[in-house]
Protein backbone atom coordinates (compact mmCIF):
# COMPACT_ATOMS: atom_id res chain seq x y z
CA UNK A 1 0.00 0.00 0.00
CA UNK A 2 2.69 2.43 1.11
CA UNK A 3 4.92 1.36 -1.74
CA UNK A 4 2.22 1.82 -4.31
CA UNK A 5 1.64 5.34 -3.06
CA UNK A 6 5.33 6.08 -3.27
CA UNK A 7 5.55 4.77 -6.81
CA UNK A 8 2.55 6.85 -7.78
CA UNK A 9 4.10 9.99 -6.24
CA UNK A 10 7.31 9.33 -8.12
CA UNK A 11 5.47 8.89 -11.38
CA UNK A 12 3.51 12.07 -10.83
CA UNK A 13 6.62 14.09 -10.07
CA UNK A 14 8.20 12.72 -13.24
CA UNK A 15 5.26 13.93 -15.31
CA UNK A 16 5.53 17.29 -13.57
CA UNK A 17 9.23 17.49 -14.37
CA UNK A 18 8.54 16.62 -17.99
CA UNK A 19 6.27 19.57 -18.53
CA UNK A 20 8.40 22.06 -16.63
CA UNK A 21 11.32 21.17 -18.81
CA UNK A 22 10.16 23.62 -21.50
CA UNK A 23 12.25 26.73 -21.71
CA UNK A 24 9.10 28.86 -21.49
CA UNK A 25 8.16 27.27 -18.21
CA UNK A 26 4.58 26.78 -19.42
CA UNK A 27 2.58 24.00 -17.76
CA UNK A 28 -1.01 22.82 -17.40
CA UNK A 29 -4.10 24.14 -19.13
CA UNK A 30 -4.44 27.49 -20.84
CA UNK A 31 -8.05 28.66 -21.06
CA UNK A 32 -8.75 31.02 -23.96
CA UNK A 33 -12.01 32.89 -24.60
CA UNK A 34 -12.08 34.05 -28.19
CA UNK A 35 -14.59 35.81 -30.44
CA UNK A 36 -16.67 33.54 -32.63
CA UNK A 37 -15.03 34.97 -35.76
CA UNK A 38 -11.73 33.50 -34.55
CA UNK A 39 -13.04 29.93 -34.38
CA UNK A 40 -10.98 28.66 -37.33
CA UNK A 41 -7.75 30.50 -36.67
CA UNK A 42 -7.61 30.01 -32.92
CA UNK A 43 -8.36 26.31 -33.21
CA UNK A 44 -5.33 26.09 -35.49
CA UNK A 45 -3.23 28.34 -33.23
CA UNK A 46 -4.17 26.28 -30.18
CA UNK A 47 -3.08 23.10 -31.95
CA UNK A 48 0.26 24.61 -32.89
CA UNK A 49 0.79 26.02 -29.39
CA UNK A 50 0.18 22.57 -27.91
CA UNK A 51 2.67 21.10 -30.39
CA UNK A 52 5.27 23.65 -29.34
CA UNK A 53 4.62 23.02 -25.63
CA UNK A 54 4.15 19.30 -25.05
CA UNK A 55 1.88 18.51 -22.11
CA UNK A 56 0.09 21.84 -22.30
CA UNK A 57 -3.57 21.81 -23.20
CA UNK A 58 -5.32 24.81 -24.73
CA UNK A 59 -9.01 25.01 -23.82
CA UNK A 60 -10.91 27.21 -26.25
CA UNK A 61 -14.31 28.80 -25.78
CA UNK A 62 -15.83 30.62 -28.75
CA UNK A 63 -18.85 32.93 -28.57
CA UNK A 64 -19.92 36.46 -29.27
CA UNK A 65 -17.43 38.91 -27.77
CA UNK A 66 -20.00 40.57 -25.54
CA UNK A 67 -21.25 37.25 -24.18
CA UNK A 68 -17.67 36.29 -23.43
CA UNK A 69 -17.02 39.61 -21.69
CA UNK A 70 -20.07 39.01 -19.49
CA UNK A 71 -19.00 35.48 -18.66
CA UNK A 72 -15.54 36.76 -17.66
CA UNK A 73 -17.03 39.53 -15.53
CA UNK A 74 -19.26 36.95 -13.82
CA UNK A 75 -16.09 35.17 -12.69
CA UNK A 76 -15.31 32.53 -15.30
CA UNK A 77 -11.73 31.24 -14.73
CA UNK A 78 -10.04 32.44 -17.93
CA UNK A 79 -6.41 33.04 -18.88
CA UNK A 80 -6.71 34.88 -22.20
CA UNK A 81 -9.43 36.98 -23.82
CA UNK A 82 -9.30 37.68 -27.55
CA UNK A 83 -12.14 39.98 -28.57
CA UNK A 84 -13.53 41.06 -31.93
CA UNK A 85 -13.79 44.64 -30.72
CA UNK A 86 -11.89 46.81 -28.26
CA UNK A 87 -15.15 47.77 -26.53
CA UNK A 88 -15.72 44.29 -25.13
CA UNK A 89 -12.21 44.06 -23.81
CA UNK A 90 -12.67 47.45 -22.20
CA UNK A 91 -15.78 46.15 -20.42
CA UNK A 92 -13.58 43.55 -18.76
CA UNK A 93 -10.80 46.07 -18.06
CA UNK A 94 -13.34 48.45 -16.48
CA UNK A 95 -14.44 45.67 -14.17
CA UNK A 96 -10.79 45.17 -13.17
CA UNK A 97 -10.42 41.90 -15.05
CA UNK A 98 -7.51 43.10 -17.20
CA UNK A 99 -4.55 45.16 -16.02
CA UNK A 100 -2.11 44.48 -18.86
CA UNK A 101 -2.21 46.70 -21.95
CA UNK A 102 -4.23 45.00 -24.64
CA UNK A 103 -2.45 44.38 -27.91
CA UNK A 104 -4.15 44.48 -31.30
CA UNK A 105 -3.14 41.24 -32.99
CA UNK A 106 -5.31 41.32 -36.12
CA UNK A 107 -7.52 43.59 -38.17
CA UNK A 108 -10.55 42.76 -40.19
CA UNK A 109 -12.46 44.80 -42.71
CA UNK A 110 -15.87 44.47 -44.30
CA UNK A 111 -16.65 43.05 -47.67
CA UNK A 112 -19.83 42.85 -49.64
CA UNK A 113 -20.96 39.24 -49.67
CA UNK A 114 -23.22 38.06 -52.47
CA UNK A 115 -24.57 34.59 -53.30
CA UNK A 116 -22.64 32.60 -55.89
CA UNK A 117 -23.12 34.15 -59.33
CA UNK A 118 -24.26 37.47 -57.83
CA UNK A 119 -27.92 37.13 -58.93
CA UNK A 120 -28.75 40.61 -57.60
CA UNK A 121 -26.03 42.19 -59.79
CA UNK A 122 -24.56 44.05 -56.84
CA UNK A 123 -21.42 46.00 -57.66
CA UNK A 124 -20.91 48.35 -54.75
CA UNK A 125 -22.38 49.88 -51.66
CA UNK A 126 -24.70 52.04 -53.80
CA UNK A 127 -26.67 48.97 -54.81
CA UNK A 128 -27.67 48.53 -51.17
CA UNK A 129 -30.06 51.42 -51.64
CA UNK A 130 -31.92 49.68 -54.47
CA UNK A 131 -35.51 48.92 -53.49
CA UNK A 132 -35.53 45.57 -55.29
CA UNK A 133 -32.43 44.25 -53.53
CA UNK A 134 -32.80 42.17 -50.38
CA UNK A 135 -30.16 43.16 -47.88
CA UNK A 136 -28.92 41.56 -44.69
CA UNK A 137 -26.73 43.36 -42.18
CA UNK A 138 -25.61 42.65 -38.66
CA UNK A 139 -27.65 44.33 -35.96
CA UNK A 140 -26.07 47.54 -34.73
CA UNK A 141 -25.58 46.03 -31.30
CA UNK A 142 -22.95 43.58 -32.60
CA UNK A 143 -19.53 44.71 -33.93
CA UNK A 144 -20.12 43.88 -37.58
CA UNK A 145 -23.32 45.95 -37.47
CA UNK A 146 -21.56 48.91 -35.90
CA UNK A 147 -18.90 48.67 -38.59
CA UNK A 148 -21.57 48.52 -41.31
CA UNK A 149 -23.12 51.69 -39.98
CA UNK A 150 -19.76 53.44 -40.17
CA UNK A 151 -19.16 52.52 -43.80
CA UNK A 152 -22.65 53.61 -44.82
CA UNK A 153 -22.03 56.96 -43.17
CA UNK A 154 -18.71 57.24 -44.92
CA UNK A 155 -20.29 56.37 -48.27
CA UNK A 156 -23.21 58.72 -47.73
CA UNK A 157 -25.66 55.92 -48.51
CA UNK A 158 -28.81 55.61 -46.42
CA UNK A 159 -28.64 52.45 -44.33
CA UNK A 160 -31.35 50.11 -45.47
CA UNK A 161 -31.82 46.44 -44.68
CA UNK A 162 -34.46 43.76 -44.75
CA UNK A 163 -33.02 42.08 -41.70
CA UNK A 164 -30.56 42.94 -38.95
CA UNK A 165 -29.05 39.65 -37.92
CA UNK A 166 -27.72 38.73 -34.51
CA UNK A 167 -24.27 37.74 -35.77
CA UNK A 168 -22.17 37.43 -38.86
CA UNK A 169 -22.78 33.70 -39.23
CA UNK A 170 -26.51 34.31 -39.46
CA UNK A 171 -25.90 36.93 -42.14
CA UNK A 172 -23.78 34.45 -44.09
CA UNK A 173 -26.50 31.79 -43.84
CA UNK A 174 -28.94 34.19 -45.53
CA UNK A 175 -26.41 34.90 -48.28
CA UNK A 176 -25.53 31.27 -48.76
CA UNK A 177 -29.20 30.28 -49.13
CA UNK A 178 -29.81 33.13 -51.56
CA UNK A 179 -32.39 34.74 -49.32
CA UNK A 180 -30.68 38.10 -49.72
CA UNK A 181 -28.91 39.68 -52.66
CA UNK A 182 -26.15 41.28 -50.66
CA UNK A 183 -24.78 41.62 -47.17
CA UNK A 184 -21.88 43.17 -45.35
CA UNK A 185 -19.61 40.71 -43.56
CA UNK A 186 -15.95 40.48 -42.71
CA UNK A 187 -13.36 39.52 -45.24
CA UNK A 188 -12.47 36.52 -43.07
CA UNK A 189 -16.07 35.34 -43.18
CA UNK A 190 -16.12 35.47 -46.95
CA UNK A 191 -12.89 33.48 -46.99
CA UNK A 192 -14.35 30.89 -44.62
CA UNK A 193 -17.62 30.57 -46.54
CA UNK A 194 -15.93 28.96 -49.53
CA UNK A 195 -17.41 28.83 -53.02
CA UNK A 196 -20.99 29.56 -52.10
CA UNK A 197 -20.35 33.16 -51.24
CA UNK A 198 -18.51 35.73 -53.33
CA UNK A 199 -16.80 38.74 -51.79
CA UNK A 200 -16.65 42.18 -53.33
CA UNK A 201 -14.12 44.70 -51.99
CA UNK A 202 -15.27 48.30 -51.74
CA UNK A 203 -13.28 51.44 -50.90
CA UNK A 204 -15.41 52.61 -47.97
CA UNK A 205 -14.38 49.50 -46.04
CA UNK A 206 -11.25 51.34 -44.97
CA UNK A 207 -13.42 53.59 -42.82
CA UNK A 208 -14.35 50.78 -40.49
CA UNK A 209 -11.36 48.61 -39.89
CA UNK A 210 -12.05 46.32 -36.99
CA UNK A 211 -9.30 45.82 -34.41
CA UNK A 212 -9.00 42.50 -32.59
CA UNK A 213 -7.35 43.04 -29.20
CA UNK A 214 -5.97 40.30 -26.98
CA UNK A 215 -4.87 40.36 -23.35
CA UNK A 216 -4.04 38.01 -20.50
CA UNK A 217 -6.44 38.33 -17.59
CA UNK A 218 -5.42 39.77 -14.25
CA UNK A 219 -6.76 36.75 -12.38
CA UNK A 220 -5.51 34.19 -14.88
CA UNK A 221 -5.18 30.84 -13.09
CA UNK A 222 -2.21 30.13 -15.39
CA UNK A 223 -0.43 33.48 -15.75
CA UNK A 224 2.66 32.07 -17.43
CA UNK A 225 0.58 30.10 -19.90
CA UNK A 226 -1.56 33.16 -20.62
CA UNK A 227 1.40 35.33 -21.49
CA UNK A 228 2.99 32.60 -23.58
CA UNK A 229 -0.20 32.15 -25.60
CA UNK A 230 -0.59 35.90 -26.20
CA UNK A 231 3.02 36.04 -27.35
CA UNK A 232 2.48 33.08 -29.63
CA UNK A 233 -0.56 34.69 -31.30
CA UNK A 234 1.52 37.82 -31.98
CA UNK A 235 4.54 35.86 -33.25
CA UNK A 236 5.34 35.51 -36.94
CA UNK A 237 3.86 32.04 -36.93
CA UNK A 238 0.65 33.34 -35.38
CA UNK A 239 0.41 36.22 -37.87
CA UNK A 240 0.87 33.80 -40.76
CA UNK A 241 -2.08 31.71 -39.61
CA UNK A 242 -4.25 34.82 -39.22
CA UNK A 243 -3.24 36.23 -42.60
CA UNK A 244 -4.15 32.99 -44.30
CA UNK A 245 -7.67 33.34 -42.93
CA UNK A 246 -8.01 36.85 -44.37
CA UNK A 247 -7.01 39.00 -41.40
CA UNK A 248 -4.78 42.01 -41.89
CA UNK A 249 -1.76 42.44 -39.73
CA UNK A 250 -1.86 45.44 -37.39
Amino acid sequence: MFRTALALAAALSLVGCGSTQQASGVTGDVTVFAAASLTGTFTELGRRFEAAHPGVRVRLNFAGSSALAQQINQGAPVDVFASAAPANLEQVADAGGITATPAVFARNRLRIAVPKGNPGKVAGLVDFGRADAKIALCAEQVPCGAAARKVFEAAGVALRADTLEQDVKAVLTKVRLGEVDAALVYRTDVAAAGDEVEGIAFPEADQAVNDYPIAPLAKAPNAAGAQAFVDFVRSDEGRAVLAEAGFDSP
Binding site: S66, K134, A139, Q141, D162, T163, E165
Partner: protein, 254 residues
Protein backbone atom coordinates in the same frame (compact mmCIF):
# COMPACT_ATOMS: atom_id res chain seq x y z
CA UNK B 1 -41.24 12.25 0.92
CA UNK B 2 -42.56 14.27 -1.98
CA UNK B 3 -42.49 17.68 -0.41
CA UNK B 4 -38.72 18.18 -0.38
CA UNK B 5 -38.08 17.40 -4.07
CA UNK B 6 -41.22 19.33 -4.94
CA UNK B 7 -39.92 22.41 -3.16
CA UNK B 8 -36.50 21.92 -4.74
CA UNK B 9 -38.17 21.70 -8.13
CA UNK B 10 -40.12 24.87 -7.49
CA UNK B 11 -36.99 26.68 -6.32
CA UNK B 12 -35.14 25.46 -9.41
CA UNK B 13 -37.77 27.07 -11.61
CA UNK B 14 -38.28 30.23 -9.59
CA UNK B 15 -34.81 31.21 -8.38
CA UNK B 16 -33.51 32.29 -11.84
CA UNK B 17 -36.68 34.34 -12.14
CA UNK B 18 -36.01 35.91 -8.77
CA UNK B 19 -32.46 36.67 -9.93
CA UNK B 20 -33.86 38.54 -12.88
CA UNK B 21 -36.17 40.54 -10.66
CA UNK B 22 -33.49 41.30 -8.06
CA UNK B 23 -30.95 42.47 -10.61
CA UNK B 24 -33.45 44.52 -12.58
CA UNK B 25 -32.54 48.21 -12.82
CA UNK B 26 -35.88 49.27 -11.39
CA UNK B 27 -35.15 52.98 -11.63
CA UNK B 28 -35.10 52.85 -15.41
CA UNK B 29 -37.95 50.40 -15.77
CA UNK B 30 -40.79 52.90 -16.39
CA UNK B 31 -38.85 54.78 -19.08
CA UNK B 32 -37.90 51.66 -20.93
CA UNK B 33 -41.33 50.10 -20.47
CA UNK B 34 -43.13 52.86 -22.32
CA UNK B 35 -40.57 53.40 -25.04
CA UNK B 36 -41.79 52.99 -28.59
CA UNK B 37 -39.46 50.10 -29.41
CA UNK B 38 -40.58 48.00 -26.46
CA UNK B 39 -44.23 48.66 -27.25
CA UNK B 40 -43.67 47.70 -30.85
CA UNK B 41 -41.79 44.52 -30.04
CA UNK B 42 -44.34 43.52 -27.41
CA UNK B 43 -47.29 44.14 -29.71
CA UNK B 44 -45.58 42.18 -32.48
CA UNK B 45 -44.82 39.32 -30.09
CA UNK B 46 -48.39 39.08 -28.86
CA UNK B 47 -49.90 39.31 -32.34
CA UNK B 48 -47.52 36.76 -33.85
CA UNK B 49 -47.79 34.28 -30.97
CA UNK B 50 -51.59 34.49 -31.14
CA UNK B 51 -51.68 34.05 -34.90
CA UNK B 52 -49.23 31.16 -34.65
CA UNK B 53 -51.51 29.56 -32.05
CA UNK B 54 -54.47 29.92 -34.41
CA UNK B 55 -52.46 28.29 -37.20
CA UNK B 56 -51.51 25.47 -34.82
CA UNK B 57 -55.14 24.96 -33.78
CA UNK B 58 -56.39 24.85 -37.36
CA UNK B 59 -53.74 22.39 -38.53
CA UNK B 60 -52.80 20.70 -35.27
CA UNK B 61 -56.18 19.51 -34.04
CA UNK B 62 -56.96 17.55 -37.22
CA UNK B 63 -53.43 16.15 -37.11
CA UNK B 64 -53.87 15.10 -33.49
CA UNK B 65 -57.16 13.48 -34.45
CA UNK B 66 -55.47 11.58 -37.27
CA UNK B 67 -52.74 10.36 -34.92
CA UNK B 68 -55.18 9.38 -32.19
CA UNK B 69 -58.00 7.88 -34.27
CA UNK B 70 -56.76 7.48 -37.79
CA UNK B 71 -56.29 4.01 -39.17
CA UNK B 72 -52.95 4.58 -40.83
CA UNK B 73 -49.81 2.50 -41.04
CA UNK B 74 -46.66 3.59 -39.22
CA UNK B 75 -48.55 5.72 -36.76
CA UNK B 76 -45.87 5.43 -34.09
CA UNK B 77 -43.26 6.64 -36.52
CA UNK B 78 -45.47 9.50 -37.63
CA UNK B 79 -46.03 10.47 -34.01
CA UNK B 80 -42.27 10.58 -33.46
CA UNK B 81 -41.87 12.75 -36.55
CA UNK B 82 -44.38 15.23 -35.23
CA UNK B 83 -42.17 15.86 -32.22
CA UNK B 84 -39.14 16.66 -34.39
CA UNK B 85 -39.48 20.43 -33.98
CA UNK B 86 -39.20 19.86 -30.22
CA UNK B 87 -35.87 18.11 -30.57
CA UNK B 88 -34.46 20.14 -33.42
CA UNK B 89 -32.39 23.13 -32.33
CA UNK B 90 -34.67 26.03 -33.29
CA UNK B 91 -31.96 27.61 -35.44
CA UNK B 92 -31.79 24.43 -37.47
CA UNK B 93 -35.58 24.54 -37.73
CA UNK B 94 -35.24 28.04 -39.10
CA UNK B 95 -32.71 26.91 -41.68
CA UNK B 96 -34.99 24.02 -42.64
CA UNK B 97 -37.84 26.48 -43.14
CA UNK B 98 -35.59 28.64 -45.31
CA UNK B 99 -34.68 25.61 -47.42
CA UNK B 100 -38.35 24.92 -48.05
CA UNK B 101 -40.09 28.28 -47.90
CA UNK B 102 -37.20 30.64 -48.60
CA UNK B 103 -36.83 32.64 -51.78
CA UNK B 104 -34.98 29.76 -53.41
CA UNK B 105 -36.61 27.05 -51.30
CA UNK B 106 -38.33 23.94 -52.61
CA UNK B 107 -41.77 25.55 -52.33
CA UNK B 108 -40.74 29.13 -51.70
CA UNK B 109 -39.37 29.63 -55.23
CA UNK B 110 -42.82 28.96 -56.67
CA UNK B 111 -44.54 31.14 -54.09
CA UNK B 112 -42.19 33.88 -55.18
CA UNK B 113 -42.46 33.23 -58.92
CA UNK B 114 -46.21 32.66 -59.12
CA UNK B 115 -47.67 34.81 -56.38
CA UNK B 116 -44.85 37.17 -55.56
CA UNK B 117 -45.04 35.94 -51.98
CA UNK B 118 -41.82 35.81 -50.02
CA UNK B 119 -42.06 34.75 -46.40
CA UNK B 120 -38.56 35.46 -45.01
CA UNK B 121 -38.14 38.89 -43.42
CA UNK B 122 -41.89 39.35 -43.06
CA UNK B 123 -44.28 39.24 -40.11
CA UNK B 124 -45.97 36.27 -41.78
CA UNK B 125 -42.59 34.56 -41.67
CA UNK B 126 -42.47 35.10 -37.90
CA UNK B 127 -45.85 33.41 -37.58
CA UNK B 128 -44.69 30.49 -39.72
CA UNK B 129 -41.51 30.02 -37.68
CA UNK B 130 -43.36 30.22 -34.37
CA UNK B 131 -46.08 27.84 -35.54
CA UNK B 132 -43.48 25.35 -36.72
CA UNK B 133 -41.77 25.25 -33.35
CA UNK B 134 -44.91 25.42 -31.22
CA UNK B 135 -47.18 22.99 -33.06
CA UNK B 136 -45.88 19.80 -31.39
CA UNK B 137 -47.01 21.11 -28.01
CA UNK B 138 -50.55 21.43 -29.27
CA UNK B 139 -50.58 18.16 -31.20
CA UNK B 140 -49.19 16.12 -28.30
CA UNK B 141 -51.57 17.68 -25.80
CA UNK B 142 -54.66 17.24 -27.98
CA UNK B 143 -53.68 13.75 -29.07
CA UNK B 144 -53.29 12.73 -25.44
CA UNK B 145 -56.73 14.09 -24.66
CA UNK B 146 -58.23 12.34 -27.68
CA UNK B 147 -56.68 9.04 -26.71
CA UNK B 148 -58.00 9.38 -23.19
CA UNK B 149 -61.48 10.26 -24.46
CA UNK B 150 -63.95 7.39 -24.78
CA UNK B 151 -64.47 6.70 -28.52
CA UNK B 152 -67.87 5.16 -27.75
CA UNK B 153 -69.31 8.67 -27.45
CA UNK B 154 -68.48 9.08 -31.12
CA UNK B 155 -70.29 5.82 -31.82
CA UNK B 156 -73.27 7.06 -29.87
CA UNK B 157 -73.29 10.21 -32.01
CA UNK B 158 -73.11 8.08 -35.17
CA UNK B 159 -76.14 6.05 -34.11
CA UNK B 160 -77.97 9.35 -33.72
CA UNK B 161 -77.27 10.17 -37.35
CA UNK B 162 -74.32 12.52 -36.90
CA UNK B 163 -71.75 12.64 -39.69
CA UNK B 164 -68.07 12.33 -38.85
CA UNK B 165 -67.56 16.07 -39.08
CA UNK B 166 -70.60 16.89 -36.93
CA UNK B 167 -69.50 14.27 -34.41
CA UNK B 168 -66.05 15.77 -34.29
CA UNK B 169 -67.38 19.29 -33.87
CA UNK B 170 -70.20 18.66 -31.42
CA UNK B 171 -68.98 15.64 -29.45
CA UNK B 172 -65.26 14.95 -29.74
CA UNK B 173 -63.95 18.50 -29.65
CA UNK B 174 -65.99 19.62 -26.62
CA UNK B 175 -64.95 16.51 -24.72
CA UNK B 176 -61.25 17.22 -25.29
CA UNK B 177 -61.58 20.96 -24.76
CA UNK B 178 -59.38 21.01 -21.63
CA UNK B 179 -56.63 19.32 -23.62
CA UNK B 180 -57.07 21.75 -26.49
CA UNK B 181 -56.91 24.73 -24.16
CA UNK B 182 -53.88 23.37 -22.32
CA UNK B 183 -52.17 22.66 -25.64
CA UNK B 184 -53.02 26.09 -27.01
CA UNK B 185 -51.65 27.74 -23.88
CA UNK B 186 -48.37 25.81 -24.12
CA UNK B 187 -48.26 26.51 -27.82
CA UNK B 188 -48.80 30.22 -27.28
CA UNK B 189 -46.19 30.41 -24.54
CA UNK B 190 -43.66 28.59 -26.70
CA UNK B 191 -44.41 30.86 -29.65
CA UNK B 192 -44.08 33.94 -27.47
CA UNK B 193 -40.62 32.92 -26.31
CA UNK B 194 -39.49 31.63 -29.71
CA UNK B 195 -36.13 33.01 -30.79
CA UNK B 196 -33.90 30.74 -32.87
CA UNK B 197 -36.24 29.71 -35.67
CA UNK B 198 -37.72 33.19 -35.85
CA UNK B 199 -34.46 35.07 -36.23
CA UNK B 200 -33.14 32.49 -38.67
CA UNK B 201 -36.20 32.28 -40.90
CA UNK B 202 -37.81 35.69 -40.52
CA UNK B 203 -34.74 37.72 -39.69
CA UNK B 204 -34.77 40.74 -37.44
CA UNK B 205 -36.20 44.10 -38.41
CA UNK B 206 -37.82 46.43 -35.91
CA UNK B 207 -41.57 46.72 -36.33
CA UNK B 208 -41.69 43.86 -38.76
CA UNK B 209 -39.96 40.82 -37.35
CA UNK B 210 -38.29 41.98 -34.12
CA UNK B 211 -40.27 40.20 -31.44
CA UNK B 212 -39.47 40.53 -27.75
CA UNK B 213 -37.02 37.61 -27.53
CA UNK B 214 -35.06 39.04 -30.47
CA UNK B 215 -35.03 42.46 -28.88
CA UNK B 216 -33.87 40.89 -25.61
CA UNK B 217 -31.07 39.00 -27.31
CA UNK B 218 -29.76 42.04 -29.18
CA UNK B 219 -30.08 44.26 -26.14
CA UNK B 220 -27.89 41.77 -24.27
CA UNK B 221 -25.05 42.62 -26.66
CA UNK B 222 -24.78 46.21 -25.58
CA UNK B 223 -27.21 46.94 -22.74
CA UNK B 224 -27.67 43.99 -20.39
CA UNK B 225 -29.88 46.13 -18.17
CA UNK B 226 -32.29 46.81 -20.98
CA UNK B 227 -32.35 43.10 -21.75
CA UNK B 228 -33.39 42.35 -18.19
CA UNK B 229 -36.18 44.90 -18.35
CA UNK B 230 -37.43 43.51 -21.66
CA UNK B 231 -37.35 39.99 -20.23
CA UNK B 232 -39.36 41.07 -17.24
CA UNK B 233 -41.95 42.73 -19.47
CA UNK B 234 -42.26 39.57 -21.55
CA UNK B 235 -42.48 37.51 -18.39
CA UNK B 236 -45.16 39.62 -16.73
CA UNK B 237 -47.32 39.79 -19.84
CA UNK B 238 -47.12 36.05 -20.46
CA UNK B 239 -47.76 35.13 -16.83
CA UNK B 240 -50.68 37.56 -16.81
CA UNK B 241 -52.23 36.12 -19.94
CA UNK B 242 -51.70 32.50 -18.88
CA UNK B 243 -53.10 33.08 -15.40
CA UNK B 244 -56.10 34.84 -16.92
CA UNK B 245 -56.70 31.99 -19.34
CA UNK B 246 -56.40 29.42 -16.62
CA UNK B 247 -59.07 31.09 -14.53
CA UNK B 248 -61.32 31.54 -17.49
CA UNK B 249 -60.99 28.17 -19.23
CA UNK B 250 -59.45 25.54 -17.09
CA UNK B 251 -61.17 26.69 -13.93
CA UNK B 252 -58.30 25.71 -11.65
CA UNK B 253 -58.98 24.65 -8.07
CA UNK B 254 -60.82 27.48 -6.39
Amino acid sequence: MLVVPALLGLAFLLVPLAGLLIRAPWATVPDRLFSAEVGEALRLSLVCASLATVVCLVLGIPLAWLLARGDLPGRGFLRALVTVPLVLPPVVGGVALLLVLGRRGLIGQYLDAWFGVSLPFTTAGVVVAEAFVAMPFLVISVEGALRAADPRYEEAAATLGASRWLTFRRVTLPSVMPGVVAGAVLCWARALGEFGATITFAGNFPGETTTMPLAVYLALETEPDAAIVLSIVLLLVSVGVLAGLRDRWIGGPT
